[in-house]
């Protein structure tokens, strides 16, 4: 069974600091996704990573994928309060159309 784990589960950081969220998955997969969710809202797609070594950046967020290690990272550079949200990674179960989400990382950026 495919399992997707994120750490940390909770992250409180000061504005201007850098930090990394980790997403580990237990079975080989060909695609990984990162989403953002604000409280009471739906999910916003951030990144789609399709190959080993893929790196994508948008503003202060950068995501990377290492398929051999079954690991993706979401790096936050010089955090600002607007980045406060819950971040999820999701992996497609190999050979299926089923997507497994991680536990989520609740990020709070303090002014």
């Amino acid at each position: 069974e495919l399992k997707v784990e994120q750490n940390p589960l909770f992250l409180s950081m000061q504005e201007g600091k850098n930090y990394t969220i980790y997403c580990n998955y237990s079975t080989t997969s060909d695609r990984l996704y990162w989403y953002r969710q604000d409280p009471g809202k739906s999910l916003e797609s951030l990144f789609v990573l399709l190959s080993n070594g893929a790196v994508k950046q948008e503003g202060r967020l950068m995501a990377s994928l290492d398929t051999k290690a079954r690991l993706s990272t979401l790096h936050i550079t010089a955090a600002v309060h607007d980045l406060s949200a819950t971040y999820f990674c999701a992996v497609r179960y190999p050979g299926t159309y089923k997507y497994i989400f991680g536990t989520g990382t609740r990020l709070k950026v303090l002014a």
């Binding site: 399709l50 497994i100 989520g104």
Partner: protein
């Protein structure tokens, strides 16, 4: 371009009742998936519809069923509601022809079962 829309926004039902939730996919998308998100949890995959057929199902009982219409819109039906069915139900659409199969989520329907 309208994104994914869902109705209703909120719903309160009693145990044992039945509920139908609706989803219209983003323009150009032909695939619809449904997710259940309990409070403080990640979304759980219920099933996916493509070409009006359920082509993938998650670990949900048969009380959960769905339908996709020729215009690609979809319904999620839940019978014999339990208290544990209270959750945010999310619909996601994607275009089967696009590399990466990126999913776009609707605003969700918050279901409360009392």
């Amino acid at each position: 371009d309208a994104g994914v829309t869902q109705s209703p926004t909120h719903l309160i039902k009693t145990r044992g009742q039945q509920v139908t939730l609706r989803c219209s996919p983003k323009s150009g998308h032909d695939t619809v998936s449904w997710y259940q998100q309990a409070l403080g949890q990640g979304p759980q995959f219920i099933f996916q519809y493509y070409e009006e057929e359920e082509r993938q199902r998650g670990n949900f009982p048969d009380r959960f069923s769905g339908h996709q219409f020729p215009n690609y819109s979809s319904e999620l039906n839940v019978n014999a509601l339990l208290l544990g069915d209270s959750a945010l139900y999310l619909c996601a659409s994607q275009a089967s022809t696009r590399v990466g199969y990126e999913q776009y989520f609707g605003p969700g329907t918050r279901l409360t079962v009392t």
